[in-house]
Assembly symmetry: C2
Homo-oligomer: 283 residues x 2
């Protein structure tokens, strides 16, 4: 596999991350997972805008994001991923320096690492739906920064797996915010609901696309997290993310919702998103 590392393309197996990399020592970095359909990057600008925001918030400097799209395309080409679907993983850290908590000397170059891999989407799950479970949100209070310090997400995701659930939903102060690696939407009283894009959730690219599609389809929507009380009464729910697109939720904490079937609003949005990406495939 050909990967990208600090300005060069090379065999992934040849990459040497230093034990003094701040990504390794401090989780002091950011990441993005982008998606390609037949070699075309989905919503590149939204990914780059979020990355720029994260770099600004963490005050990591010295990254030329203008090259990111071309780099991702080159990764697809070099790995024979221009046909079919693929994901591009990109990570940026504050670079290599002797271990002290505060920032290293100005001019310390950040670490840039990226790789691409083939994605073979599960064709059944978007039709059947998936079960999810809730977990207490133990994450930090800057979930809007797509940082690599993901231990809480790892533990939540593992908890879901052990309960045969597809995803774990973080609940903080009674509000159902998002999944460990996806955003979550609910439908209640025919209104589409998802948590507001504040500092407690990741501002998902697919989340933004779903809201755009909802508006264009005339689906009433509100950026306001549902509460534990409200979750008991939702008509529909689904997960949204770059890798999974839209996955209907049919079970929450063991309780069947939406009659165990993807709901009508979920299906409309799922199909609209599929239509959008199908356009990328053929264009």
């Amino acid at each position: 596999m050909i990967a990208y590392y600090n300005g060069h393309f090379c065999d992934k197996a040849a990459i040497v991350i230093s034990p003094d990399d701040r990504g390794f020592l401090f989780g002091d970095g950011l990441y993005e997972v982008m998606r390609s359909y037949e070699g075309k990057l989905f919503e590149l600008e939204l990914h780059l805008a979020r990355l720029a925001y994260g770099l600004d918030q963490l005050r990591i400097t010295g990254v030329d994001l203008g090259q990111t799209g071309a780099m991702a395309q080159e990764l697809l080409l070099k790995n024979s991923l221009l046909q079919g679907d693929a994901t591009i993983y990109l990570q940026i850290t504050r670079g290599v320096a002797e271990r002290v908590h505060h920032f290293p000397a100005a001019g310390t170059p950040p670490t840039l690492y990226a790789c691409a891999r083939r994605l073979s989407p599960n064709r059944e799950l978007p039709l059947q739906g998936v079960p999810v479970v809730s977990v207490a949100d133990q994450r930090w209070s800057r979930c809007d920064i797509k940082a690599t310090g993901l231990a809480a997400n790892v533990l939540a995701s593992q908890a879901a797996k052990e309960k045969n659930a597809f995803e774990a939903l973080f609940v903080r102060g009674g509000f159902w915010l998002e999944g460990s690696r996806t955003n979550v939407f609910f439908v209640k009283n025919n209104v589409l609901r998802t948590a507001a894009a504040d500092q407690f959730i990741l501002h998902g690219v697919t989340r933004a696309v779903v809201l755009r599609l909802a508006r264009s389809l005339g689906i009433e929507n509100r950026e306001s997290a549902v509460t534990t009380e409200e979750v008991a009464q939702v008509e529909e729910a689904f997960l949204a993310g770059t890798t999974i697109e839209i996955l209907p939720i049919i079970k929450i904490d063991g309780r069947t919702i939406s009659g165990g079937q993807p709901g009508p609003i979920t299906c409309r949005l799922r199909d609209a998103l599929r239509h959008l990406t199908a356009g990328l495939r053929v264009s």
Copy 2:
């Protein structure tokens, strides 16, 4: 510099951390910073107990902690650090695996990395004291796990540095909990106070030693965080940590405390800790 990596001692520059190491991708790991005085490890058992606790909480398996003391001693020997003071940094991650949030397959070996470096303690700061600033605590709610996802600590530490302060103190819900890399103690109405060892602070080794010393010296003490209201009335304050030992605080958010001098209870504890470690030096 000779470091330790997955069972072997080698030149630190030869160590290759994989970009698929979960420490790099997810901050999915733990660390310890131990201290030696003339080649003798300080409170090794407390460090190992905390490490065992963290491994248990994160459910990282396959680590034989029984070898840690000997490994640390060997690092000191191989780096000519048996004389003088040194710190030993140890990091354990959940190992190398293709990037998915949940745990990798059982049997995936964890990554173990350690290195040692000379410590030249500042002789003036324990006598003069240091200024600190407060920051909003944005960390996760499992600060009792000494995990490597330290972005919030990095930002706090940098904020302190930019205000010419030695340390940033995390304040959560009005409670002054600990520093970005140290624990904090206050003296109010002649009672020594530090936050209780719950999930919102690191259970510091030096913190435990300070409480032990306080008890043996007959200093009244209480594990209960001071509030913002109380901080305005404290008589003394100090930081405690493996690397810094005890450092008096003489300024909080720009306001001089304790008359700008280390307070009497602070000095008694600082000197008692120094006496303890001096014993290691000569034994």
